[in-house]
């Protein structure tokens, strides 16, 4: 039964990729894309229901394993992928109308989009650290093609950097995986089961500490590149700024989460084996560094998408910090922050996408008076910005509240950095967004009506999460937090 559901979940996007590889050039490709994503979403919901009822389960002779932790990421991923596909329909039409995209490019876009979803879902659901790696690599490859979609010099450069850096990072992660296996095979013996997370988790106490330390470093540097932890983050702003906006949305909304999920999984193993807080401390360090540097970099950005890319780095840093602190509340907060960040950030990118199309430039100095030219986009951007800046009653505040207070309680010495970074980030982003939405402007309306349902849908969800969390959801989070310890 679970096998079937899982198969549905994984095969729909794969099949969709195939379909769109064939029909991607048709005028109704966009609708097909959305349809496929919707089916994926439905499947993910079904799977989630099941897991909530029946608890963690393995599938395909344990090659896949689904517990509360990854299933909520699965649901989140499927959902955001779906809304993004909705958004990309008019967005891509407008781009085409502006002559930035050809039909062939769209063709590539749609098929790659589905494959990308597939890769992410595999990376989330698989139980095999090796396959995690494979899926991550696959996700990288697909997104590289998406980032370079426009074929402009800038996009090529961005894609190339993205490709090389993440390729190297991923390769290092592979070495880490190998070391993990090296340690594991001596406990679990040769062959298939030695890379299965569940098994590793059972025997994590017996794994060889020195090897795991080494392994974790490689895994952290490897997947950390993908998360965008400073100083491995260099690819991230370029890729976000130069790729098509829907891709930026899924990149910072989803892919980063997936990579982080992998790191967290391995952190559980390593700290379990070392019996110390080694991995946690490393993560906290990287988190704080990313937070600080990202906040400072935000100050000087001129390109709007670049700026929000940095804000993604900042938030990933915060989440990494939270998971690094560990403990029930912090982990809980970390997962909550993952959720609300993906929702908010993708919403922001949707709004930004249309704003950029209106103004015809990504330079923030040339974007003015959004509230006047189209109030919906303007308000979407304003509210999204306030949400991402951690203004209540949006959900981002809830998680930041928990993270900051817990940090104050557990690791007081970190709080000055938190205070400074959050303050600077606020000043930077808010100070740049305010003149964009306010004031006067002369911009022409768009050829197609913008898709703002996703924006406000996301923001609404974030708002609700901020003031009210349904009991089953919180239980679900709590179990996940318990799983990760």
């Amino acid at each position: 039964m679970i096998d079937l559901q899982l198969m549905a979940l994984l095969l729909i996007p794969l099949f969709g990729g195939g379909m769109l590889a064939v029909f991607g050039a048709r005028p109704w490709a966009a609708e097909l894309n959305s349809l496929m994503s919707f089916c994926t979403f439905v499947a993910s919901v079904a799977l989630t229901m099941r897991v909530i009822d029946a608890g963690p389960q393995a599938a395909f002779n344990e090659q896949f394993f689904i517990d509360q932790f990854n299933v909520y990421l699965v649901a989140l991923t499927a959902f955001v992928a779906f809304t993004t596909s909705l958004f990309s329909r008019p967005y891509m039409r407008i781009e085409q109308h502006h002559g930035k995209l050809s039909v062939g490019m769209l063709h590539l876009y749609y098929s790659m989009y589905q494959l990308f979803t597939f890769a992410m879902l595999v990376a989330l659901t698989t139980n095999n650290m090796g396959i995690v790696w494979v899926a991550m690599e696959a996700a990288t490859l697909t997104t590289v093609l998406l980032v370079s979609l426009y074929r402009t010099p800038a996009s090529l450069e961005a894609a190339w950097k993205y490709f090389i850096l993440c390729g190297v990072g991923i390769a290092l992660a592979l070495f880490g995986t190998i070391l993990l296996y090296f340690a594991a095979e001596r406990v679990l013996g040769q062959g298939g089961t030695a890379l299965l997370w569940t098994h590793l988790n059972e025997v994590k106490g017996e794994l060889e500490p020195t090897v795991l330390k080494l392994a974790f470093i490689f895994l952290l540097v490897g997947y950390g590149t993908k998360i965008g932890l400073v100083p491995l983050h260099s690819w991230l702003p370029d890729a976000h700024a130069e790729g098509p906006t829907p891709v930026s949305a899924v990149l910072s909304g989803l892919l980063l989460n997936v990579a982080l999920c992998a790191v967290v999984r391995s952190k559980v193993l390593v700290d379990g084996s070392l019996g110390s807080h080694f991995a946690g401390n490393l993560m906290m360090g990287f988190g704080l560094l990313s937070l600080l540097v990202a906040a400072l970099s935000l100050f000087r950005q001129k390109d709007i998408k670049r700026m929000f890319a940095y804000s993604s780095i900042e938030h990933m840093g915060l989440i990494t910090f939270a998971f690094g602190m560990g403990g029930a509340v912090a982990t809980y907060a970390g997962m909550l922050h993952m959720t609300v960040h993906s929702l908010t950030k993708s919403a922001i990118f949707f709004a930004v996408g249309h704003a950029v199309q209106k103004a015809g430039t990504q330079q923030m100095d040339n974007i003015r008076g959004l509230l006047q030219v189209s109030p919906t986009v303007g308000w979407g951007l304003v509210l999204g910005t306030f949400a991402i800046l951690g203004m209540p009653p949006f959900g981002v505040f809830a998680s930041e509240f928990l993270i900051v207070t817990t940090a104050m309680h557990e690791y007081p010495w970190t709080t000055p950095i938190l205070l400074i970074s959050l303050g600077i980030a606020f000043a930077a982003i808010f100070g740049k967004v305010q003149p964009m939405v306010f004031g006067e402007t002369t911009a022409k309306p768009l050829p197609h009506p913008p898709a703002l349902v996703p924006v406000f849908l996301h923001l609404l969800l974030v708002l609700i999460l901020g003031v009210y969390m349904p009991a089953y959801l919180s239980d679900w989070y709590r179990q996940a937090a318990a799983l990760l310890g």
């Binding site: 090389i164 850096l165 190297v168 990072g169 290092l172 020195t210 330390k213 080494l214 470093i217 490689f218 540097v221 100083p231 491995l232 260099s234 690819w235 400072l296 970099s297 100050f299 000087r300 403990g327 809980y332 509230l371 306030f386 800046l389 203004m391 209540p392 009653p393 505040f397 809830a398 509240f401 900051v404 207070t405 817990t406 940090a407 104050m408 309680h409 007081p412 709080t415 938190l418 205070l419 303050g423 600077i424 606020f426 000043a427 930077a428 808010f430 305010q434 003149p435 306010f438 004031g439 006067e440 901020g466 003031v467 009210y468 969390m469 009991a471 919180s474 239980d475 989070y477 709590r478």
Partner: protein, 645 residues
């Protein structure tokens, strides 16, 4: 009560403002009742898991709710008239924000757990930000809004941290105020919490040196909003400080009090000094708000000192003075701000140098504002005097503290308070005299019209409150005793035993009866006027004022706002950053301009800004495009990490 709040938030057309005024009245009255009853708590099914929204209505919050209700009732009534001319779209938006603002403030005072408190706090900040930037086409207003929200947010994070310090035990459930009350803190952490709270709330209240946003944001906002912000929102910060210091933190240290006292005095003097040299009437009022916040903080500091040294009656006295003054300030400052609002409507002019003689054009506004002016200058028998009187009493009764330094400090502090009060009178005479008295300085002022009926009602209500609070101090103090009872466990028992004389401690030590005073003066006035008319006559002849032999006098030759402030600027020269454009003897069109600015901005904030920019420039160097470098980062990171295992 929250039902009422919820009703506010619902957006509707113009009749909503009187409605909300009524609602505020209901709120105020119900809180008056709640003042005497035991604390009621309420838990909503909202909020974080394990941390639903807790609400609690105890005397402290009840008192501040009274303040909110009473002030906002008048302001909303005024707003009914003031916002009449807006077109519908803007009005709807503004109405929504306005009531969100009110609801946020009410919730701040009702919140009983850190999360709800922060949510309400930031909702308050956010909605007020949108209100401030109502006409955001003007860049200066955007700048003001930015500064305001930035400082508010940083302050909010500080408050958050202080809650983090105070949280009781682990888990999400540890953020209720009850848990915090029970938490045992070492004196170090308690101090940390206090300092963080002081910083955070101080940033909201405009305490030195976090005051810079206040004189920018208040003038930028529409007048009823400035009234709300200055009259009520600043008090939420005072509420927060009181709540944290006396309710949540179990122990207090004497130096907290000294710190608060010092900060308060500095703020008071600073505020009034700058108020004296302002030419923009709303800026002037904003600075005077800073001054009053300083006085309130002084009162809190005094309370702390007395409380720590076990002189609880005096602590109660100081606390009651503080609360009383915050109530008074809410009333007269709102009155003055809405007054400027109707002036703006009538003349479209904020610069006092272009006003004058409005008393003839708009008598209603003039007389009502006069009440506020007299009250804020601390003149008997109005309310401003009562709270100052109580505060000074607290100072006078202070000797005998075990700490000599504080004993030395207290009289000096009293002197500073007295100085600030006297300067406030100066400022207010300037404010009123330049705007309402004399001759109109511009021809356009001839077309000025008086305040509308709604505006009159609103201002009338506030003025009435000023008079009432001034004439019936005994009753008020009796009510405030409950708050003192709750926070300090002591009452000013014999305050109420004599309905005509206000005797905080003992009839032999001090007493004051505004009612008697008023009657005496009025009686004497009546008597004299009667006698004069009886013994002599009441003939009056009108003629032109004496021009001392210089017939070519124009209205422009009157004393301007700058001129009136000039002595102050001259006496306190070093505190201002003064830029002057003095005409040379040969100018065909001589033109004088003087601006006095806040040195703190240049000493404190600009360096901060530059530092941040420098740092971010350094961060920018990381990202300079060469892929080899990026690879090197990866490589180095890897090697370094490997080295350190």
């Amino acid at each position: 009560m929250l039902g009422v709040v919820g009703l506010w938030v619902k957006d509707a057309a113009r009749f909503i403002f009187p409605l909300s005024a009524a609602a505020s009245l209901v709120l105020a009255v119900s809180s008056v009742l709640a003042l005497s009853t035991a604390p009621e708590t309420l838990v909503l099914p909202l909020g974080l898991p394990d941390l639903p929204f807790h609400l609690r209505l105890d005397p402290l919050s009840a008192f501040f709710l009274i303040l909110l209700g009473a002030a906002s009732a008048g302001i909303s009534l005024f707003g009914t008239g003031y916002f009449r001319h807006l077109e519908d779209k803007t009005l709807r938006l503004l109405c929504l924000e306005y009531h969100l603002f009110l609801a946020g403030m009410a919730l701040v005072m009702l919140a009983d757990d850190a999360y709800l408190f922060m949510v309400a706090w930031e909702v308050m900040a956010l909605s007020s930000y949108f209100l401030v930037t109502t006409d955001h086409a003007i860049p200066d207003i955007r700048k003001a809004g930015f500064l305001y929200l930035l400082i508010a947010h940083v302050g909010a994070i500080a408050i958050l941290l202080s809650f983090g310090v105070m949280q009781g035990g682990h888990g999400i459930g540890a953020y209720t105020f009850d848990a915090m009350r029970n938490a045992e803190l070492s004196s170090f952490w308690a101090s940390a919490a206090f300092l963080l709270a002081l910083f955070g709330f101080g940033a909201k209240a405009g305490v030195l040196p976090m005051h810079v946003w206040l004189p920018e944001a208040h003038p930028a906002a529409p007048s009823p909003v400035s009234a709300l912000m200055s009259g009520v929102m600043l008090k939420t910060a005072i509420y927060g400080i009181l709540r944290v210091t006396f309710d949540l933190l179990g122990t207090q240290l004497w130096w907290w009090g000294v710190l608060a006292l010092g900060l308060g005095l500095a703020t008071a003097i600073f505020g009034v000094m700058f108020a004296a040299v302002q030419a923009d009437m709303k800026r002037l009022l904003a600075y005077s708000s800073i001054e009053n916040i300083g006085l309130l903080l002084t009162g809190i500091g005094l309370t702390l000192i007395f409380h720590v040294y076990g002189k609880d009656t005096l602590a109660a006295l100081a606390l009651i003075a503080t609360l009383y003054h915050s109530l008074n300030h809410a009333m007269f400052k709102s009155l003055l701000f809405v007054g400027t609002g109707s002036i703006l409507h009538a003349t479209g002019e904020r610069n006092m140098g272009r006003l004058g003689g409005l008393m003839r054009k708009m008598p209603w506004a003039a007389w009502l504002v006069l009440v506020g002016v007299l009250a804020i200058s601390g003149l008997p028998p109005l309310n401003g005097f009562v709270s100052e009187w109580l505060l000074l009493q607290a100072f006078l009764l202070s000797p005998g503290l075990p700490n000599d330094y504080i004993n030395m400090l207290v009289p000096v502090a009293a002197a500073v308070v007295a100085l600030a009060a006297a300067l406030a009178a100066y400022v207010m005479v300037k404010f009123y005299g330049v705007i309402f008295l004399g001759q109109p300085r511009e021809a356009s002022l001839e077309r000025a019209h008086d305040a509308g009926i709604w505006e009159r009602i609103g201002m009338g209500w506030l003025a009435l409150a000023c008079v009432g609070l001034g004439l019936a101090p005994v009753f008020v103090v009796h009510q405030l005793d409950r708050v003192a009872q709750m926070l300090l466990g002591v009452q000013l028992g014999n305050a109420a035993n004599n309905w005509v004389f206000l005797t905080p401690v003992d009839i032999e030590r001090a007493s004051y009866s505004p009612l008697f005073f008023l009657l005496a003066v009025l009686g004497v006035m009546l008597l004299t006027s009667l006698l004069v008319r009886r013994l002599y006559h009441g003939r009056v002849r009108r003629s032109a004022p004496w021009d001392c032999g210089f017939p070519a006098q124009t209205a422009r030759m009157q004393d301007t706002a700058e001129g009136f402030g000039q002595p102050i600027r001259r006496i306190f020269e070093p505190f201002f950053k003064i830029e002057r454009e003095v005409p040379s003897p040969f100018d065909m069109h001589p033109h004088y301009q003087g601006r006095s600015e806040d040195r703190l901005w240049y000493i404190l904030y600009q360096p901060l800004q530059h530092l941040t920019e420098k740092l971010s420039a350094m961060a920018g160097l990381l990202q300079h495009g060469r892929i080899h470098l990026y690879l090197t980062y990866t490589f180095v990171t890897l090697v370094v990490l490997l080295l350190f295992v």
